[in-house]
Amino acid sequence: MSEIVDTPPGPRTWQVSWTGLRTVAVLELRQRVRSTRWITILVIWALLLGAMTTLLHLAFRRLGQGGESEEVGAIIFGLIVYLVLSLGSLISPALSATSVNGDRSAGVLATLQTTLLTPAEIALGKLGAAWLTALAFLAVALPFLGWGFLDGGTPPGRFLITLTLLAVMLLVVCAVGLGWSAITSRTTSSAVLTYLTITFVGVGLPVLFFMLAPLVTTTERRTVRDMVSQSAVWDPRGQVWMSNEMNGDSPMVCRESFQETTVTHSERIWWLLAGNPFVVLADASPMPDGNGDDILSSIRTNVRDLRLGAPAVQDRCADWGRMRAENAAQQEKRQKQRQALNATWPYGLAVNLLLGTTFTAVAIRRLRAPAAKLPRGTRVA
């Protein structure tokens, strides 16, 4: 009697050949093209994007009559990028989240497993087919992204980088779907779990960030700049500015004091936001020349601000618009600090790639045969 081992795979589990990949991908794509009304779905997708892009243009043309057309172009481009990313993340799970357990329940997975295809070829072939389908959706979105780009205000580098990252993010979503479809036996479970995973990264982590913010908020002594009347005097005991003026007609000035104040140490938890696909896209795309009021630029600026944490000098004067000139030095210093930071997106991209790779590896392991253990409720064939 031979010894029983839990890991029966041959050394070929992870081996991949071009022929094997192509065989699986072609099989998947053929079935997909023939069994779904994919032309209809692509047309609906195009109409949806077209309608929303047109509405954006109409809205900004009316609102932004006074503004620079380039700024409006950058704003519209950013919004379309996020629209494509959100809708693409909604569609992509449907492309891969049933690919393994669906085949299993249809009784066709074992047919592939008993051939000389390796588990890696089966998993990656399915992933490739799902990704190519997702890229078809991206290709249909291209004219609308191009429209936003042609409005001006978007550097060509930003256009190319966002497009590339959109493709990568859709690949990650497809990989998550593939992984769940290999883990669960029911196709509905894998679809739901895929949506939950994607929503967690896209929405859950930012929510978690804001929920954790009070926990990293402390009371510390800091230099604070306040707008006070010229005659005001700092009272260290009461921790307030005292003024003996009754009518308060002295001019307001910006004055420093050393006082207790609440400081949110966002630099301790900023990384919760780094993996978010929307943040990755925003952080990776080069800034346009303008004031950076578009959604991509402002998310990039804000996340880097959170990463720096509260400034050493808390500047409440900055809230007073008319005093802006006085604080220009402070603002500039902060901007220099932001620019000195390493880019945030490589972390985020790495997190996403790790997520995708992990789920793909799980799928490959689950496709190994002969299986010692089976997922609950599944039949082999």
Binding site: T23, R34, S35, Q113, T114, L116, P370, V380, A381
Partner: protein, 317 residues
Amino acid sequence: MDYALIESNDLDAGTGVVARGVRRTFGDVVAVDSMDLDVPPGRVTALVGPNGSGKTTLLLVLATLLAPDAGTVTVAGADPRTDPWEVRRRTGWMPDAFGTWETLTCREVLETVAAAYRLPRAGIRARVDELLELVHLADLADRPTQVLSRGQKQRLGLARALVHSPAVLLLDEPASGLDPRSRIELRGIVRDLATAGAAVLVSSHVLAELDTLADRAVFVSGGCTVSVRDLDVASAGPRTWTVRALDAGALERALDALGRVHGDPGVDGAVELELTGDDDAASLLSALVHDDVPVVSLRPSGGVLEQAYLSLTKERQ
């Protein structure tokens, strides 16, 4: 063996299938308790047993899909657990629960499987044509498989199992859903493969369909091998025959006179009795004719397998 391509398959089944003490459980359920099985090359072995006796699970172990909990298995000279690739290269498996890529045509299904077995690209088209011809699906080659009847799907499944010219063939309930003509053709294909040297295992619980197909039978029940019979020997051994005459009374009197133990005549006047092999049957017939009994027919009642199966269950009672 080269991983990339199979140049030709020499039908070298090695020792065929040799399984000893195979056990496989699913949680608390013991699907296969302890099975021994030999499928020698050049012969067709039937795996016979009632529903739920563990036939399909054993086939899944042989087809490299399930790892056994205990026991040793060799298929075409390789261990499915440690070297599944070698086993797959030489083994064709036709599952019972039948799934097929519904939107693909018959030709595309076979081409896909051929590519998955890494057959040389140049030869795939000819091989697929040959197989479609073999299972009589050539006229349906370019129709999607969802329009096929159950029997046609079974035939496609057989072609799929044969794509890479396997030396070991595992057929799980191959004849279910087949019309009589297709059954006869299946028998022809399977017998030809065995003659060419393949080791063939056919599972079924329908005994009649295995009778003319198999050389040997392995009986399983409750996850255990209970008996192994050589069917040539079985047909030479004692078995029940049915004899019918125009005059049931004359038949009974003649049999009594010959000292033959027999049952009571049935509604049609047929009488059952035990005979030992064909020689015994021939001598009884000539004796009856000599006694002027108007004999209409003398034939074995039921198939060899059916009788073997029944005698087996009798032994166990």
